[in-house]
Amino acid sequence: MEITVDDDGVVSVVRIAGRPGPEDLRRCREQLLGTLGRARVIALDLGGLEGADLAFVQLLCAAHRTACARGCEMTLASDVPPALGALLERAGAERCAGGPPGCLMRLLIAACARAA
């Protein structure tokens, strides 16, 4: 998995590509935490994702929750790979409950549907 952050002082584009494994998730968490500490807007670019699992989805959810709590906006900078959209649907994220307003999960599914 590769994770890069392009930071222009206002918007930080976080690009996550490849297939995140357990160790990658820890690295990803650290990167996102660092970015959340300094950016007002975070745009996720997940176009290069080759696969993902629920642990990754949960990480994104936690990041979105933290961003909301800090007044940071989190959005998408790219289309979402169909595999991620399919995973979210299978996991019942379409009707997910308990997330923050403007649930990232629904955003992801919608982006995926648009791309399709």
């Binding site: 959810c61 936690a62 933290t66 299978r90 994220a93 308990g98």
Partner: protein, 830 residues
């Protein structure tokens, strides 16, 4: 990075476990081979042999014991051909397999090097090649692996040393678990071969694969995880469809087992290996697809609706179970509305990415039964996981579940929230069906014998302390103390029984070894003998079992060499040509009786008497009963055989038997009928740690006599003139009873009381009494070994501590009688 620790870094305990397990498999294989000789067409026996070799090969590969792996593989190939009906079982094949078993066993002995070939391996290979050539079959194809330790994974040239290959984090526990799971998988596959439609076996194979995948995931073995996931999917598909497993699938899965070993070993990471695996998976899927019915066959009933709350364990992400796959499985059962619950996901600061905080609410309308629904969750692992299944009204399912926290829309009589229903237990409302998860499977633990010994020792100490407590309580005026002492006594007794029970193991493995012995022995001396065993499930303390083999071997040798006649002699006597030896075990109270019975010529009592007179054990005209004459057979160096063979006849066998059995605090006796056969009966205590004894007092000293030899206690008036004599006789119910005064025999100071108690014991066919001052009563004796200084005092069997804290010596009755006889007129036997 080395994919696996070098051999010399594998923990010795793990290697020992491997040796132990492989030895058990070889014993099982030997049993199968022996039976196969009699029933060459028995596929189950062929399967057992194949399976044993296959497992040994796999485990050996996992440890890097290349030579052993290769040797087992060559033999496995032979049985594979037999399994596939390309060869028939012959005496030569059984012989080769038995010789191969000996070779493997040689390597498995402690201290032996598992990495070399056994001395007999070349000869076995030569014979193997000959039978394969005769059958037109080629030799086993062995993967080209350098057997030298230098080529362990990670060494130059090893595939696993390629850059970018992730090193698996293999540890002792993982290797052990996977080895056990693979074995379980193989057992299930073998059974499936016989019962291809057995859903339970299919499920068992699936569970084993599932667990292997989980373990692989935990250890970062991505390749193993993905490979096994594919296999698991095939078996899950077949299980759901209810289709039988084909031979092709079973064969492929068995091959896959080997591949799993190679993946774990790190040797399976090369491009060629991966391609091979992919082809294998593709093949499996095509088999499964061909055989799968279009509609899943699930137990069905009327269409009902259920609400399910699924909370996987926190470790589900690393445990190899994919909750999404479970949800997919549910969807296959009927219309499903799934709501992922993300409300427990913490902030990023608090999140441990490996811990799952997600849970699900599902509503499903299905014809599947509750059991089928439960089955969908059997792999939700972790003790902290939970699944609640509650029936709801049908109408509720048409619409998706309501938003957070709200009750679902129901047309009538809404079911309570599952948790509430379960907790409230209100009448008329069905509680949620809790699906047990995590650790639901029965499991066993392998515990080192040393730990068990330590536990038994501690329990022994506890029993002694408890006895002291009870004694103190009896003399105390504090009622509360009495109550506590009684409670401690009860708990101690339970703990003692449980602890001793843990050490109990069946005699089956010991019995299994004798089949081969009898076969080889009979062949070597031109006899035809069939060994039949009964009561193999009878259990004995492990320490007794470990020491049981030698005496039984001696008795069997004796039966075959002296008891069973030649086939011609038997025919002349009107008996079947083949002699029979029956080996049985049965529990009888606090003892286990092992009986070895042959249908041979029986014991010639006149020959025994003649030999005894010749050796000065009997006077020429001395009359002895049958039992006493039989007892003479156990005298050192006694043999009626005029010839000495390599099997027996030297007169050392039965003497050894007697000493070994007595060393186990048991007794051996023989019963025989001329012309009809002989039976040896070995009576052994269930355990060596604790025994029932009779406590007696002589002066200030306390002694314990084993209760198993005590027949009765009688009271006699001592004669003043005879009080200092070592031995005397008394009339008991009109019969003369010789007795020995322990006071004189053991040199205890002081005068005996006017009335002496005589404890009547039976030892080696003799009935004799021991005069003591008082009989104190039964005593549960925790046996403590004596120190080195007392090692040569043969009449002492050990020591124990009585309830009042005093030490009592445990007497070896047989030795004591012999010592008294030797002492003759008096004096202490030591």
């Amino acid at each position: 990075v080395s994919a696996r620790e070098p051999l010399d870094e594998i923990p010795e305990s793990l290697v020992a476990a491997f040796r132990e397990e492989a030895a058990e498999l070889l014993v099982d294989m030997e049993g199968a081979l022996m039976a196969l000789e009699a029933s060459p067409g028995d596929e189950e026996l062929v399967g057992r042999s194949f399976r044993a070799l296959h497992t040994i090969k796999g485990n050996a590969a996992m440890f890097g014991f290349v030579a052993m792996e290769r040797f087992a593989h060559e033999l496995e190939h032979l049985f594979d051909l037999v399994r596939k009906k390309r060869m028939a079982v012959t005496g030569e094949i059984v012989g080769i397999a038995l010789a191969a078993k000996d070779c493997l066993q040689e390597l498995l002995a402690p201290g032996q090097d598992c990495e070399r070939d056994a001395a007999g391996a070349p000869e076995v290979r030569r014979r193997l090649e000959a039978v394969l050539a005769a059958a037109g079959a080629g030799p086993a194809v062995v993967a080209p692996r350098d057997a030298s330790p230098a080529s362990s994974p990670g060494a130059p040239g090893d595939a696993s040393a390629e850059p970018g290959v992730t090193a698996p984090r293999v540890d002792e526990e993982f290797l052990r678990e996977v080895a056990e799971l693979l074995q379980d998988l193989e057992v299930a596959l073998m059974e499936l071969e016989r019962q291809p439609g057995d859903g339970e076996l299919m499920l068992r194979a699936f569970r084993a694969l599932h667990a292997i995948r989980g373990d692989g995931a935990k250890h970062g073995l991505v390749e193993l995880q993905s490979f096994v996931a594919e296999l698991e999917a095939v078996f899950e598909q077949l299980h759901r469809s209810g289709e039988p497993a084909s031979r092709e699938l079973i064969d492929l899965t068995l091959e896959a087992c080997e591949r799993m070993c190679r993946v774990i070993d790190g040797a399976g990471s090369s491009a060629a290996e991966i391609a091979l695996r992919e082809r294998e998976i593709e093949k499996m899927h095509s088999i499964a697809a061909r055989r799968t019915r279009p509609e899943p066959a699930v137990a069905s009933g009327p269409r009902r609706s259920w609400r399910i709350r699924l909370r996987p364990g926190a470790g589900v992400f690393t445990g190899g179970t994919d909750p999404v796959a479970i949800l997919d499985g549910l969807r296959a059962l009927g219309a499903c509305a799934v709501r992922g619950r993300f409300d427990e996901v913490p902030s990023l600061e608090e999140l441990d990415p490996a811990v799952c905080h997600l849970w699900w609410e599902i509503e499903i309308a299905t014809e599947a039964t509750l059991d089928t629904l439960r089955d969908a969750f059997i792999y939700v692992g972790g003790a902290d996981s939970s699944v609640e299944i509650t029936p709801v009204d049908v109408a509720a399912v048409a619409a998706p579940p309501a938003e957070t926290g709200a009750q679902p829309t129901v047309a009538s009589a809404p079911a309570p929230a599952p948790a509430a229903a379960a907790e409230s237990g209100e009448k008329g409302k069905r509680p949620a069906a809790q699906v047990p998860s995590g650790g639901g499977d029965a499991s066993t633990l392998r515990v080192g014998a040393g730990r068990l010994d330590a536990l038994v020792n501690l329990v022994g100490e506890l029993v002694t302390v408890q006895a002291r407590l009870s004694r103190e309580a009896q003399t105390s005026s504090q009622q509360a103390l009495v109550g506590i002492a009684e409670e401690v006594e009860r708990l101690t007794a339970d703990l003692r029984d449980l602890t001793l029970e843990i050490r109990m193991v069946p005699v089956r493995p010991v019995f299994g070894k004798f089949r081969r012995l009898v076969r080889d022995l009979a062949q070597s001396i031109g006899r035809e003998v069939e060994l039949t065993t009964e009561g193999e499930e009878t259990e004995l303390d492990k320490s007794v079992i470990d020491r049981l083999g030698d005496p039984i071997v001696h008795i069997l040798r004796n039966c075959i060499d002296h008891g069973i006649e030649t086939p011609e002699e038997r025919e002349r006597a009107g008996k079947p040509r083949k002699g029979s030896v029956l080996l049985t075990a049965a529990q009888a109270g606090p003892s286990v009786v092992i009986r070895i019975e042959d249908d041979g010529r029986g014991i010639d009592l006149e020959a025994v008497r003649r030999k005894a007179v010749e050796r000065g054990l009997l006077g020429e005209h001395e009359v002895r009963g049958e039992r006493e004459l039989h007892a003479l057979l156990f005298a050192p160096g006694f043999s009626t055989s005029s010839r000495v063979t390599n099997v027996s006849g030297r007169g050392v066998g039965l003497d050894v038997v007697k000493r070994a059995v007595e060393g186990l605090r048991g007794e051996v006796r023989v019963v025989s009928r001329a012309g009809a056969g002989t039976a040896f009966e070995v009576r052994l205590p269930l355990t060596l740690a604790i025994t029932e004894g009779l406590a007696v007092a002589v002066g200030e000293e306390r002694y314990i006599l084993p209760l198993s030899v005590v027949r009765e206690c009688v009271e006699i008036a001592g004669r003043p003139d005879a009080s200092r004599r070592l031995s005397d006789v008394a009339s008991v119910r009109g019969e003369v009873l010789p007795y020995v005064r322990l006071r004189e025999l053991l040199g205890v100071a002081g005068a005996p009381p006017p009335l002496e108690q005589v404890v009547v014991v039976e030892s080696s066919g003799r009935t004799v009494g021991f005069a003591v001052d008082y009989v104190l009563g039964g005593h549960q004796t925790v046996i403590k070994p004596l120190g080195r200084i007392y090692r040569d005092v043969r009449w002492l069997a050990g020591s124990t501590i009585l309830g009042d804290g005093t030490v009592a010596l445990i007497l070896d009755v047989d030795q004591l009688v012999s010592a008294a006889e030797a002492a003759g007129g008096g004096g202490a036997p030591c």
